[in-house]
Amino acid sequence: MSPARIARRRQNRLAASGALIEIAYVVGLSCACCLVCAIAWFALG
């Protein structure tokens, strides 16, 4: 396999893990907000 191809593959793997991290962050943030909703629900319900 040529060095260029290896480099491109590494780049793509890095990009894919980057995307997963972003998605994880967003899911985490959404869960935090759901927690805020839950707190509001139980505190004010």
Partner: protein, 502 residues
């Protein structure tokens, strides 16, 4: 460029505008192919006609503007402003030919709404719209999100100096890479990669919730395009409520929040800089304001006992707020419910969320998190100065792709742009009241338009006064381009017609 623009300056603007029009005209091939696949021959004809007319206009402008002069900053700015208006008029042709609009102004309104990724609609009978027309609607919002200029840059503009100036004119100033073409291509790569992932996810979800395979794919593609571009269009009149599905809603939340992030952030994280997503001032600002405003919204909803259980509070309260804060505009309630049921506190939280908006250099609108963060840091710095008089002035720092010092000019620039947003927000609110709408509703719709959000409280209708439609078009345009291009365009036109100084 001298004080009074010369004919050569006008030519440059016309030339670039022509190229942008050509770029948009070529996009018409996509709905044409869709029409062929769907057997919509009447649509194919009017798309082909629109293609012919658009190309004619594009080639004419490019021919009139033929010049080999290099572009300056003014040209980039003015092209940004002017080309969006010309494209608005041209891209409205298929809408008008489809018969789903009561006036050409309505058709142009929907085009501007699509390109600016606002999402307010004046279309009639959306539930019976042709597949190819829905393709055009959602494509416009997807391309508008990336930036019409970015589209042109990728394919049509060969000179890189001019290219960068056009890019900035469209309201982006993040240079992902030294070469503007490299930057434009990187933006497309990220968008297309997520397009594949997101469409697949929504396609699968669509099938799981009971849609037939073909429709599940089309809806998935369209809803993804509207989510990523934080546009807020949907193929049916009930918007996301049509699907009655927490799964579908959940996937849209992920992609519309992602879409509201800065392209420079995506680029950084995709190149291995993982910590950036947490340390970046914009994501930090967004996470803070999202949490706070979610709390206020829930408080407002709980006070009035609007929702019967926690699940409903999340699926209606949090969803609508997240949709507003990212300036997406997806709704799982009816517009009038905001006015009739939500109560003033929750509606106010929504207005604030819509005005703050998403990240800079993204598809989102509003003041932008970066400016809110910068202004906040400046306030902190001022307070510290007040509390410790006489001691050495220390630099205030913030994290934005590395540690940066807060400079006076950054604060000034951020504050000025926020002031301009607030100014046009008041202007459109005033216009709404003048048209007879109640204050809170005018303010809500104005925030939605100015922040390119797309939430409606019920003001936006085909029956609303034409002058209000024009005001909203102006706010969508100015807000999306972040004023520089708009001011430059007006200054250019005024200077061109100004009489020569003696």
């Amino acid at each position: 460029m001298t004080v009074k623009p010369t004919l050569d300056d006008v030519k440059l603007v016309l030339s670039y505008t022509g190229k942008v029009v050509i770029g948009v005209a070529i996009l018409l091939v996509i709905p044409m192919l869709t029409a062929i696949a769907a057997g919509e021959w009447d649509c194919l004809v009017y798309f082909a006609l629109s293609l012919g007319i658009s190309l004619s206009i594009g080639f004419l402008l490019a021919a009139l503007g033929a010049t080999d002069r290099k572009a300056g900053w003014m040209h980039g700015m003015v092209t940004g402003g002017f080309s969006w208006i010309v494209v608005m008029a041209v891209a409205a042709l298929p809408y008008w030919f489809s018969g789903h609009y009561l006036s050409y102004l309505d058709a142009m309104f929907d085009v501007m709404s699509g390109f600016t990724t606002t999402g307010l609609v004046l279309i009639q009978d959306l539930d019976h719209v042709a597949t190819s027309l829905n393709m055009w609607r959602h494509l416009l919002t997807f391309v508008g999100g990336q930036g019409v200029i970015v589209l042109a840059l990728t394919f049509l503009v060969k000179d890189s100096g001019g290219g960068y100036k056009l890019y900035v004119g469209e309201g982006k100033d993040e240079r992902l890479f030294p070469s503007i073409f490299h930057t434009a291509k990187a933006i497309w790569k990220i968008s297309l990669a997520y397009l594949a992932v997101g469409t697949l996810a929504l396609w699968a979800a669509g099938i799981a919730i009971g849609l037939p395979v073909g429709d599940a794919f089309l809806h998935g593609l369209w809803v993804y395009m509207a989510a990523w571009s934080t546009g807020g269009f949907a193929p049916m009149s009930q918007n996301i409520l049509y699907y009655h599905s927490a799964l579908y809603e959940g996937i849209t939340v992920v992609f519309f929040i992602l879409g509201s992030f800065n392209f420079a952030l995506h680029n950084a994280v995709w190149n291995g800089n993982r910590k950036e997503i947490v340390k970046n001032i914009e994501t930090a600002s967004f996470a803070t304001t999202m949490s706070l405003l979610t709390l206020v919204t829930c408080w407002g909803l709980m006070k009035l006992r609007v929702y019967p259980d926690l699940a409903a509070l999340v699926r209606k309260g949090f969803y609508q707020l997240a949709s507003a804060h990212t300036t997406t505009g997806f709704m799982t309630i009816y517009p009038r419910q905001l006015a009739n049921e939500w109560g003033d506190l929750a509606v106010l939280a929504m207005i604030v969320a819509m005005l703050i908006g998403g990240s800079a250099c993204s598809t989102a609108g509003g003041f932008k998190g970066l400016r809110v963060g910068i202004i906040w840091k400046a306030l902190v710095q001022e307070t510290r100065k007040l509390l410790k008089p006489g001691s050495a002035v220390f630099a205030q720092r913030f994290h934005y792709h590395g540690e940066k010092n807060l400079s006076e000019s950054q604060v000034r620039s951020a504050a000025l742009i926020v002031i301009m947003y607030v100014a046009i927000f008041f202007f459109a609110t005033l216009a709404g009241c003048a048209a007879g709408y109640p204050l809170l509703e005018s303010a809500f719709e104005s925030a939605s338009v100015t922040g390119n959000v797309g939430f409606s409280i019920g003001v936006t209708q085909a029956a609303m006064p034409s002058f209000l439609k024009v005001v909203y078009i102006f706010n969508m345009w100015a807000g999306r381009l972040e004023f520089m291009a708009v001011l430059a365009t007006f200054a250019f036109i005024a200077a061109f017609f100004r009489r020569k100084q003696a």
